[in-house]
Symmetry: C2
Subunit: 316 residues, 2 copies
């Protein structure tokens, strides 16, 4: 029995279920007459996606927010959601209440109406969420041009540091620990920013599987070289990596779960995008530029290294 | 810790997530402009929904077919689907192939395009399916009038007999055993019949949670009495129930998993509906009529008994 990674598994399904021309996107698009609908489904599984100390309230909220993140990247307003829940037989009323309140919180934050769903008995807790919105043109993962600027909607690496603390049950106190744990427990995709600025994006992609995955996918699909000359990371993360002897680039590029997104844009849109970000108080970061060639290269000190896709894959 | 049944759990979610005016339906409806979309989600969980001897191919097919059944009841054509799959880490390539082929089979049978989905690692196999279609008016669970006729799209009770054999690992051979096991493994919702005859339905509902659940729900929502004077059951089931000392009414009314549906209609439509059924070779059965009052009453010999809702509930 060979162990398969997620990409091999997805390929098996794609070969059976879809045309060879299939290109991965953040959201699925389907048409009813002239109406174009975007849908995104995401599953949160207790044994793999809920770290120690994360409450069911936060897990339920996050299962919806994870889908919102893809809508934010594409600048699509989510309107409706369907929620399916698997629960173990012995679950208590108070835990179910907590889960319901978590879903409610996400729906209030992002103005989503839950249409319904389905409850099932299972060995472990599973939340499956599907959200829907109407859209016109889709900003794709592909589409960046030579000289485009590359932006991230926020800093990276905090979630890796937070997961490192939670999964290893490290005893770390202080403001930094609180901040990075909160980044894992309470992600906030920049939906308003995506909605407002979509028209300036030449390409965009959610980054929750890891920044190295996102940048490589965008570079591959556009058949362009991505040069990252400004890593989206804050000073406190650098200090923490040093003090804990963690590899800073691993934290920034290969962790995932940030629920930020990456977009490319023409240099002439830099000003208006930065202005819009300021109004919304979103700390967007210009991280690099697009050029001819292929691959992703990151400036580290005075040299560049080739960034491989080492983001999160299930079954690995 | 109190044990909760599915209805209590659903109520907790409804109280948090929806308006009090919420009425249960087979499909969720949402509007984008003038486009009305129907969606149905269903989850198949290895530990509770896959009986011994059922292949993953059939389980995957059934997870889509279960959603199609609700579309059949409402006479809506499913067009698109999204599939989410949780798989244990150790699953083999050949099993994944089998799953993909099962999804493919259902999509070919009912002409559904899979848009995409999501794969996850989990402790047990879970298939979550969401299908979509466009619709105009919705036939509701509510809406039957005095003197309407009540029909079922096929015989009931075979799946209970089949599950009884599979779950108790009974050694039963012969044509009857094969037939009832097939009814569990390979359900075939009457989509074409629903699409063709929807316009004659005053109310309708999928019956996969059990005929007693369906009849009680339809009677409650319409605030009418449902009189069942012709139980939808075949002679071979009666014989089997006698020989195995099983309660025939339990098999017919409380089993579930038939993936047939129940509809009500004006007496004047009887002929055309029966003609349409004959053309499609669907063995529809006129099972009773609607009258003033409340509750569901079943004729058994020369007397009537009140039929309670004892269909399938999770967490019970």
């Amino acid at each position: 029995m060979t162990k398969l990674d997620e990409i091999s598994i997805i390929r098996i399904f794609q070969n059976e279920l879809r045309s060879k021309k299939f290109v991965s996107e953040d959201v699925e698009i389907f048409n009813f007459g002239k109406t174009k609908i975007a849908a995104k489904t995401d599953t949160l599984v207790e044994s793999t996606d809920i770290p120690p100390k994360m409450k069911l309230f936060d897990a339920a909220r996050k299962s919806i927010v994870a889908c919102v993140s893809d809508f934010a990247a594409k600048g699509i307003k989510p309107q409706y959601g369907i929620v399916s829940v698997n629960l173990p037989k012995s679950i208590s009323r108070s835990k179910i209440n907590e889960i319901a309140l978590g879903f409610r919180k996400a729906c209030d934050e992002y103005d989503i109406s839950i249409l319904g769903g389905d409850t099932n008995e299972g060995k472990e807790i599973v939340f499956n969420v599907c959200i829907f919105g109407e859209t016109d043109k889709i900003v794709k993962r592909k589409g960046s041009k030579k000289n485009d600027l590359i932006f991230a909607t926020g800093p990276f690496g905090y979630t890796s540091a937070g997961l490192n603390i939670l999964l290893n049950k490290k005893k770390v106190d202080g403001r930094f620990a609180k901040k990075v744990i909160k980044s894992v427990i309470n992600p906030k995709p920049q939906l308003k920013f995506g909605l407002k600025n979509k028209k300036y994006f030449s390409s965009s992609m959610d980054s929750s599987d890891g920044l190295s995955t996102t940048l490589n996918e965008m570079s591959n699909q556009s058949k362009k070289k991505f040069v990252i000359n400004n890593r989206p990371c804050m000073r406190d993360l650098e200090d923490y990596a040093k003090s804990q002897k963690l590899n800073l680039n691993d934290l920034i590029f290969h962790g995932g779960e940030e629920y930020e997104f990456v977009f490319t844009t023409l240099p002439k849109h830099r000003k208006i995008i930065q202005k819009n970000a300021k109004i919304l108080k979103i700390p967007i970061i210009e991280i690099g530029y697009v050029t001819l060639g292929k691959g992703v290269y990151v400036k580290d000190g005075n040299s560049f290294f080739s960034l491989k896709d080492l983001g999160w894959k299930h079954f690995r």
